[in-house]
Amino acid sequence: MTDLSVLLGPISALVLAPLIPGIINRTKAVVAGRTGQSLLQLYADLLRLFRKGAVYSRTTSWVFKAGPVAGLSCMAVSLAMLPLGGVPGAMAFTGDLIVMVYLMGLSRFFTAAAAMDTGSAFEGMGASREVQFSVLAEPALLVGLAAVALAAGPAGLFDAGPVVNGFRSLSEIYHQLTLSVWANDGAILLLAAAALFIVALTENCRIPVDDPNTHLELTMIHEVMVLDHSGPDFGMILYAAALKLWFFLALLSGLLIPVRSENLWINGISTIIGIFFLAVGVGLVESVMARLRLLRIPQLLAGALSLSALALVLVLWG
């Protein structure tokens, strides 16, 4: 039972992730009174891209080709550690959340380098913005998760005695997030969740930070970095982006849905349903909000960092 359920997380992510952008788009379409594209549109796009040839710029080198490949494998490896609510990740270990966050850093490094490799000012601009926002988003994520870890932790975390109970893997932290933790420290978890939601929108280039549907290169962030990629390369980028979105929504859903029953399948499936609801939530945010001005985005992210810090302060002295 346990052995098989460990695979539930990675497999559901690999299979279902391309559905999430479909759900978001459908939500936006329904709110706007349109029919919208198929829920399975991204699957069709991916299939089409993987069957195509490719065009490479004459300026580019191996770095350009390394970008999509490194980005996708960073995301795939992160998924091996990600817990799905109460279902532990396939390869959980102490400090795995740091590895996950840094793998995303590696993927950002290669994506930005690949963008600079084209020699296009537009792509350089996108890369420059992408690396800027992560400077505030990443601390917000790490501090928010630290607050969650402390809120979830047993009393043993606070004593200076044996070390076994110290810092744990993200899977163990999530495993302890039961309903009673919500009853005691709901405010802290909500603050952390709010910070995580803002980080999720930033890292996945959604409104209000970036508009995935924009049609002007000058205003894009993530989309402009990958302008020159085509065929299978672009397919890998889109797939990696879907996995990243899944990753963040799974983090949030595991935090927000405290189903921690004996049966791991129930835990896992309830978390997946939570992910779908969160996708609808992202769609609603995109329907009611416009994109922020670029200069305002650091303020939004500083806000997320403050929320995380507040959660940490509350859990330490609350």
Binding site: V77, Y102, G105, S128, S134, V135, P139, D233
Partner: protein, 660 residues
């Protein structure tokens, strides 16, 4: 093994002497000098490794007719741990330098340069093995002077002379504090011997507190803690690149060694020491990387990154001190372990990056990033190794920079929620995350502007790859970065005697505490393997998918514009602009903007320049004040011998009266 150590120093020194004797204009001077250093360093690695692996301490002692002095040396685990990067980086940089300096063969005295290089290597090795205060200060001073002469290699340039002057002043101001430190300790101990210091364990706060402050200032000046870092961004770009690699990679670490060695004299540590080091680490780390981001000069940028990495080391040591002071041995072990491991890691990747920068400078003749571009097609080896160094310095998996940061992170997360340590731990987490992401911004900029895209100038377009004597050192250091990451669980295990000495925890206890991190480190290694495996699989998959399908090459898509030129690429300034703007309160970048006017503007320009705030706001006013004070005393300089003799007589009388 002891004979190997002294033998290696003798060979290095002999190489330097022979090179000096061959002297000017002899093509053999460079060869003899570099080969001597290279062979000696290879030999020196053996005893250092031996001490670390077997744990056997080697010591020697001899009489010295110097008051308070004795010629006593010892290689213990801590010394051996610092000897490894010293010999490793010095050796490969010497090999690199033999080719790098060749263009100066007919114009400069290479013999002298290699002589000072060998003196620098020997004095660094002696600094970390000296067991007597007087001996330590003597070799410390020799090290500073040798590096000064190396920095001023191209002394015909005004900027180089200026840089050398700033370095000389800074290092002596630092040494002054060290002198005070040792005098204070020796007055209590009645001896300058380190053994005596260790036995004393100065616990009275009246001694230990000030001693710690003196050590932070004195050793921090060498290491480059902000605000004592001002000499780094001047001296590192001015020196020849293999010397920059040596200075930035290992010489500044002797400052860290000195600080850590001093900690073994002072115990138990007080908690504010840890707070102070965490504070210094956060300032140096974040401000260092921000200033790096604002630079246009490649080597200056790397110099500021040294400040940043010294900050990360200070964060680790600070957490370690807090752990010791609050009796939380796990935090102590992880903090000290991470900080010290970062010493080795930084030596490897910063050495590599400076050698890479030197290779670029050698090929193109410029350090201005905005005049470069597209080097990856012209210098594939330099570019690939530089890219590896960039990933490592950003602290990203799967390379070694991540390992040491991981230890510090886990320590901070572990300490979270425990009494007295939550605030510094949270600070360390936020700080490391910001430093890491800013470093990613900075190195994607360097990589993108210097190596990727199209060449921006003729010089960059005509660049050629350096030859093997310069390539092999870079490849060796890049492999070193991979090796440390791959062997991380084993290396951390070997570090327990070192951490034990610094943290004052029995070695066996340290071993058990470090064991809790070895499991996760093994998992990290597996993840890295999985990542490499994944990349290989995906690359193969893409090859399969593209087989038999049309694969074209075309111009870069520039949104419909058909004639993009290389000058239209994003530059280093434009890439860093948003972040510079965000942190302008700290950086205070000066901008002069020459706006385009009229319908057909003839000329327009934008210049940005980020000066070191600490230099402009603190040191320049300070030294100007000193200067004014000095000139106000000029009336005393009469220029007549009789008056000077009068001064001497008056002084003597005053001293005599005071003495009575």
């Amino acid at each position: 093994m002891g004979i190997l150590f002294w033998g290696s120093l003798a060979i290095i020194l002999a190489g330097g002497m022979a090179s000096l004797a061959l002297g000017r204009f002899s093509p053999w001077a460079g060869r003899v000098g570099s080969i001597g250093v290279f062979v000696g360093c290879l030999m020196g690695l053996a005893p250092a490794m031996d001490v670390i692996v077997t744990g056997a301490v080697m010591s020697w002692s001899m009489e010295w007719r110097m008051p308070y002095g004795s010629l006593s040396c010892r290689i213990d685990a801590l010394s051996a741990f610092f000897l490894i990067p010293i010999f490793l980086v010095s050796g490969v940089s010497a090999l690199y330098g033999s080719r790098y300096l060749k263009i100066h063969e007919t114009t400069k005295n290479l013999g002298a340069s290699w002589f000072f290089y060998s003196i620098l290597v020997v004095s660094m090795a002696l600094v970390v093995v000296a067991r007597n205060g007087v001996l330590f200060l003597v070799v410390w001073e020799i090290m500073s002077l040798a590096s000064f002469f190396l920095v001023t290699f191209e002394h015909e340039k005004e900027s180089v002379r200026q840089a050398g002057w700033i370095y000389l002043t800074a290092t002596h101001l630092g040494t002054f504090f060290l002198l005070v430190l040792f005098v204070v300790l020796a007055r209590e101990a009645g001896s300058m011997d380190f053994d005596r210091f260790e036995a004393m364990r100065f616990h009275s706060a009246a001694i230990a507190g000030p001693a710690f402050i003196f050590a932070v200032i004195g050793f921090g000046t060498k290491a480059g803690f902000i605000p004592f870092h001002v000499w780094l961004p001047e001296a590192h770009p001015a020196a020849p690149s293999h010397v920059s690699a040596l200075m930035s990679g290992v010489m500044i670490k002797t400052g860290i060694y000195g600080l850590v060695r001093t900690l073994t004299f002072l115990s138990p540590p007080q908690i504010w020491w840890g707070w102070l080091l965490v504070g210094v680490g956060l300032t140096s780390g974040v401000i260092g990387v921000l200033f790096a981001l604002a630079q246009h000069d490649l080597k200056r940028l790397l110099a500021y990154h040294s400040v940043e990495n010294i900050g990360i080391i200070a964060l680790g040591l600070g957490l370690g001190l807090i752990g010791t002071a609050t009796h939380q041995p796990v935090l102590a072990c992880l903090g000290f372990g991470g900080g010290l491991l970062h010493v080795l890691n930084h030596a490897l990747f910063k050495g590599l990056l400076f050698l890479g920068a030197g290779s670029v400078l050698h090929a193109t003749g410029t350090r201005e990033m905005d005049r470069l571009g597209g080097l990856i097609n012209r210098m594939p080896w330099t570019s690939a190794t530089f890219a590896a160094g960039s990933v490592a310095i950003c602290g990203l998996p799967p390379l070694n920079g991540f390992i040491s940061e991981f230890l510090i992170y886990v320590g901070a997360y572990h300490a979270m929620g425990r009494p007295d340590v939550s605030i510094p731990s949270a600070g360390v987490i936020v700080g490391l995350a910001m430093i890491g992401t800013l470093a990613v911004a900075c190195f994607t900029k360097v990589l993108g502007v210097v190596f990727l895209g199209e060449p921006r100038t003729e010089a960059a377009a005509k660049a050629h790859e350096s030859d093997w004597a310069m390539r092999i050192p870079m490849i060796a250091l890049a492999l070193g970065c991979v090796a440390v990451a791959a062997a991380a669980p084993w290396i951390v295990g070997l570090m327990s005697p070192i951490v034990s000495g610094v943290a004052g925890i029995p070695a066996q206890a340290v071993k058990t505490h470090l064991r809790i991190i070895q499991g996760p480190l093994e998992s990290v290694t597996w993840m890295a393997l999985l990542l490499v495996f994944g990349i290989a699989i995906l690359a193969m998959l893409r090859k399969r998918l593209l087989a038999g399908r049309p694969v074209d090459r075309a111009g870069t898509w520039d949104c419909g514009y058909a004639m993009p030129s290389a000058r239209m690429q994003y530059t280093s300034s434009s890439y860093a602009k948003p972040l510079i703007h965000l942190f302008d309160g700290i950086l205070q970048t000066k901008t002069s903007y020459d706006a385009p006017v009229d319908l057909f503007p003839a000329r327009a320009g934008l210049h940005t320049h980020t000066e070191d705030v600490f230099r402009r706001r603190i040191y320049e006013p300070l030294f100007h004040a000193v200067d004014r004070f000095r000139s106000s005393l000029r009336w005393m300089q009469e220029g007549r011998v009789q008056v000077y003799i009068l001064y001497i007589a008056v002084t003597l009388v005053v001293l005599l009266i005071g003495g009575l």
